[in-house]
């Protein structure tokens, strides 16, 4: 194996060579390289992204030596972007690293076209006003944007892109696609060649559960007017029927069949997530449609026609007790059906492309194949403009995140210092209030030791004003939390920055590799008791 392949071995096992190739093509821009930004990029440089551009206009101060690993004593007074960039380059020479000694806020104001050259922009430690402006620029240019912010013991991560579609979502737990509740003709035929009532004990205990369940389901349907078990009682009877076929009680394959019997009971057809996708207006394709939506349109046709309500078959089966021969043949039966389904999808894709006046060959076979295989697991993520979230958050959601009656009563009754379950909602509001505060007073609340008391009451007023503007009840805001926010004084703690940077880099990887599902909503890290939350605003 070549050295880069060995170096990336542990991550190639997660996102494969395709994912790695996407990372190596990506060009990433970082705004502000304090610890939050530096740590985010560190994780990406280690993973081997194509190129990075570090933008920061500040010089290294002594204070930076206490929270940023990418600067050291010799860097004091030098450009922070230059020092951070040099250290990052040291981590991986395959990455093209460069820096720009410019203030991100100024770039946003004066040179919006600057951002169009990147695959993705990571904006760290920006205040609300700059976030909103940058978001507009990136949305216009269709550049993926991710905000990351560390503030005392709290943090925020937010993705912003019009639409992100995923074919390989690789969920942890997903029901395998065995069609035990709806076997196709070839599978039925295959099972017909097997006799469950064989007297050969070795053959009997090496019959895979797929065959057992298909046959018993058929037997059941024949005596139940063509229906499969649906009530609890019927399901119990079905399991008893499986049990009655056992020769001895230690036959693993029959135990597996009983455990997997729920696969016979599960509903036919497609799940609600996929239904939502094929019902999406984007599935009505035209010349401007993306490859993904063209394939969704083909899938929709397949489900309505050849599929008979089902997606193309995935084509793999889990390991199960079986003789080698039966297992391998079963595997071939599934693969053949998956291949046949894929060919239908492919033809439909080509026809659709022609219909919308695109080159019929413009979507590769490999992509269509992957789409066909993963059809049940597709994901579409859309993100509101940050401006819209800030100005008109989903009000009932916000109120819910802020209110926690149990906590308030408990606290008033016992004056216990327990944290409310919904601290994250309060932290979100207070971070926004801190940015408003900064606009009004030209400093963050609690930035100076001498003005703490004053700042606490000012922050409270600001937060109450913000909540009123958003149409929320402000009584839910905890005094302790306001006090806590002032205590933080806009500090950027290294460990918090490492957490926020870790999350941000993980999301960048998911967005670039187009694998796994990126987070939706606004993530609030609660470093007080670790009850972090995703706010769907």
């Amino acid at each position: 194996m070549a050295e880069p392949k060995v170096k990336y071995d542990r991550q190639l096992r997660i996102w494969g060579e395709q994912g790695q190739a996407a990372l190596e093509k990506a060009s990433i821009c970082l705004l502000n390289c304090g610890p939050t930004g530096s740590e985010t990029l560190k994780n990406l440089v280690l993973g081997g992204v194509g190129s990075i551009t570090v933008v920061d206009g500040s010089k290294v101060e002594v204070g930076d030596l206490g929270n940023n690993f990418m600067v050291d004593e010799s860097s004091v007074g030098e450009s922070k972007a230059k020092c951070v960039c040099a250290f990052l380059q040291e981590l991986n020479d395959a990455v093209k690293a460069k820096f720009i000694e410019d203030c991100p806020e100024e770039l946003i104001e004066t040179n919006p076209s600057f951002f169009s050259q990147f695959t993705l922009v990571i904006a760290t430690q920006l205040v609300e006003d700059s976030m909103v402006k940058l978001d507009r620029i990136c949305r216009e240019a269709n550049i993926i944007l991710i905000f990351a912010r560390s503030y005392g013991l709290m943090g925020l991560v937010r993705i912003s892109v019009k639409e992100h579609t995923v074919i390989e979502s690789k969920p942890d737990h997903f029901l395998d696609d065995l069609r035990l509740n709806n076997p196709w003709q070839e599978l039925r035929r295959f099972t017909e060649t097997i006799d469950l009532n064989t007297t050969d004990a070795v053959v009997h205990k090496h019959t895979p559960y797929i065959i057992i369940l298909v046959k018993i389901a058929e037997e059941w349907a024949n005596t139940h007017g063509g229906n499969l078990p649906s009530t609890r009682e019927e399901k119990r009877q079905f399991k008893d029927l499986i049990k009655s076929k056992m020769i001895t009680m230690d036959e693993e394959n029959y135990k597996e069949a009983m455990e997997a019997s729920y696969k016979v009971f599960s509903p036919r057809g497609i799940g609600p997530n996929l239904q939502k996708i094929i019902d999406d207006s984007c599935a009505e394709v035209d010349t401007n449609s993306s490859d993904f939506w063209v394939m969704v349109a083909a899938l929709k046709e397949f489900i309505a026609n050849e599929g008979g309500g089902e997606t193309p078959l995935e084509g793999s089966i889990p390991d199960m007790t079986s003789s080698t021969e039966l297992y391998v043949n079963l595997q071939k039966t599934y693969q053949a059906k998956a291949e046949a389904d894929f060919l239908v999808i492919e033809q439909r894709v080509r026809n659709l492309l022609e219909k919308i006046s695109r080159d019929p060959a413009s979507i590769s076979r490999a992509n269509i194949k992957s789409f066909s295989k993963n059809a049940r697991k597709l994901a579409v993520c859309r993100y509101r403009l940050i401006e819209d979230e800030f100005n008109s958050p989903v009000q009932p959601e916000l109120q819910k995140y802020l209110t926690d009656e149990d906590y308030r009563t408990l606290q008033e009754a016992n004056s216990l210092k327990v944290l409310p379950e919904n601290t994250a909602g309060g932290l979100y509001i207070l971070l926004r209030a801190a940015d408003r505060f900064a606009v009004n007073y030209n400093k963050f609340p609690g930035q100076f030791d001498s003005e703490m008391d004053e700042d606490i009451s000012r922050l409270k007023t600001t937060a109450v004003g913000l909540l009123n503007d958003l149409g929320c009840n402000s009584s839910a805001l905890s005094e302790d939390l306001i006090n806590e926010m002032c205590r933080y004084g806009a500090s950027e703690l290294h460990a918090v920055a490492a957490f926020v940077g870790g999350v941000a880099s993980q999301e960048v990887i998911k967005l670039i590799t187009r694998q796994f599902i990126p987070m939706s909503g606004t993530f609030i890290f609660n470093g007080i008791d670790n009850k972090s939350q995703l706010l769907l605003l």
Binding site: Y8, L153, S322, R487, V503, Q506, E507
Partner: protein, 447 residues
């Protein structure tokens, strides 16, 4: 917007350590003294200098800790470089602990990190008692279990069976696999120890040998056949070494042959390595996230500067982002963090007889036992010098060796478990001699 502290290295951390707050621990005393104590007095041990360990050392160094030590038995490999950011290609082959310590000290001035390039079992138990807190960045259940048993062995209970606070050795534990991870805090005697919730780490499923030999179905079955059965058949007596590329290549080609014979798809060299070495996928971001939580919790436990995690955090970034905090409860009968396994003995029993007894004790099943009492080695299995020095004690009555103390705690180390599942551990025993000092009535209460 400058502040008087902006020219200080602890500019940001000071906000957290010098200012009072309401959402803090009960022991929190903000001020420069606290900051200095963390710097000067607190000693932190990091176990493991791998994916988590590298991050932990950096994060702890930036959380105000100056006295750090790190222990790791491994050397740097090329496959570490995608996440263990303290290592470079030129470091491959060097001890992880040493390089990690050096790199952090180079960049964070004032911090002192002492590396230990050895196995965790190589250190005397007393070594672990010197630290204020132990942070674990490990990838094995066995190693976690061992450190847990060591830390719990320091725990003493008072006469009401409440843990003595000064004997509690806090631990913070992290673990990752791909996009998933966990972080937890263990305060022995207060929160569940690793052993109380061992069910969170189910043993790895192994393929039945008859499947490998007779009915292989998957690529992994073919690989394990070549690795576990064919190797021994062909290379009689030669041990398979997964770090020898020739060995791995041999297993791979045998697996390919077997797969072709049975018509099984999917054997690749990469999968062969994965199956044989039980490789856990690992990435930089998850390690960064989990280590950050562990470091922050370490600072909170030591300083009280915020609420602490109660007591187990799970993280999953596969679909969206999920974090969950669960408060697990202690197992009251835990033999590791409980008040100790009660052993009733005759005064005449010799140390040798006592050691034999532990082997058959249903709760202990301890072999290769070494015994210490109040810091003195009564019998040591190793090293040979110590064994020889302590051997003469074997024929003496334990009661004599314990200065005729009617009841007291005795610490033993050894290998626990049956068959091939043995692992190193440390156990605390509450030894009571029959018919001396305490009446039967008292004993009933104490047991």
């Amino acid at each position: 917007m400058a502040d008087s502290t902006s020219q200080s290295r602890s500019r940001d951390l000071d906000k957290l350590l010098l200012r009072p707050g309401n959402l803090v621990g009960s022991t929190f005393e903000p001020g420069t003294q606290l900051r200095e104590d963390i710097k000067e007095i607190v000693r932190v041990l990091v176990i493991g200098a791998g994916g988590l360990g590298c991050e932990l050392l950096k994060d702890l160094a930036f959380s105000g800790f100056r006295n750090l030590e790190v222990i790791d038995m491994d050397r740097i490999e090329v496959t570490n470089l995608n996440r263990q950011f303290l290592f470079r290609l030129g470091d491959v082959g060097k001890p992880k602990a040493e390089v990690a310590a050096k790199r952090v000290m180079e960049r964070v001035s004032g911090v002192d990190i002492k590396p230990h390039f050895c196995r965790i079992e190589d250190k005397p138990i007393s070594f672990y008692n010197d630290f204020s807190i132990i942070v674990l960045g490990l990838d094995s259940v066995e190693a976690r279990s061992y450190i847990n048993s060591v830390a719990c062995s320091f725990l003493e209970y008072d006469s009401d069976d409440n843990p003595r606070e000064e004997t509690i050795k806090p631990m913070v534990d992290g673990g990752t696999e791909g996009f998933k991870g966990h972080a937890r805090i263990i305060m022995p005697g207060v929160t569940p120890c690793f052993e109380c919730t061992i069910w969170l780490f189910p043993p790895q499923v192994k393929f039945p040998l008859c499947t490998l030999a007779e009915t292989p179905r998957t690529a992994a079955h073919c690989i394990e056949y070549a690795h576990l059965i064919k190797w021994d058949e062909v290379h009689s007596g030669k041990t398979f070494d997964p770090d020898y590329p020739e060995h791995m290549q041999w297993v791979y080609s045998e697996a390919v042959k077997r797969a072709e014979l049975f018509g099984i798809p999917g054997v690749t060299y990469s999968l062969t390595q994965g199956v044989v070495k039980n490789i856990i996928p690992a990435i930089a971001s998850t390690n960064a996230i989990i280590s950050a939580v562990c470091s922050l919790e370490t600072l909170k436990i030591v300083s009280g500067c915020s609420k602490t995690l109660t007591n187990y955090l799970t993280y999953n970034g596969v679909e969206g982002l999920h974090t969950k905090v669960t408060e697990f409860v202690r197992d009251k009968d835990c033999i590791v963090c409980g008040p100790g396994v009660l052993i009733e003995l005759e005064v005449s029993i010799t140390l040798k007889k006592f050691i034999d007894l532990l082997e058959d004790h249903p709760k202990l099943l301890l072999t290769r036992v070494s015994v210490t009492y109040r810091g003195d080695n009564l019998y040591m299995q190793a090293p040979p010098v110590l064994e020889e020095m302590t051997r003469s004690n074997l024929d003496l009555p334990l009661f004599e060796l314990m200065s005729k103390t009617p009841t007291d705690i005795v610490h033993v180390t050894g290998a626990a478990g049956k068959g091939d599942k043995k692992q190193s551990c440390s156990r605390k025993l509450r030894v009571v001699f029959k018919g001396v000092g305490v009446t039967d009535m008292d004993m009933a209460g104490g047991a």
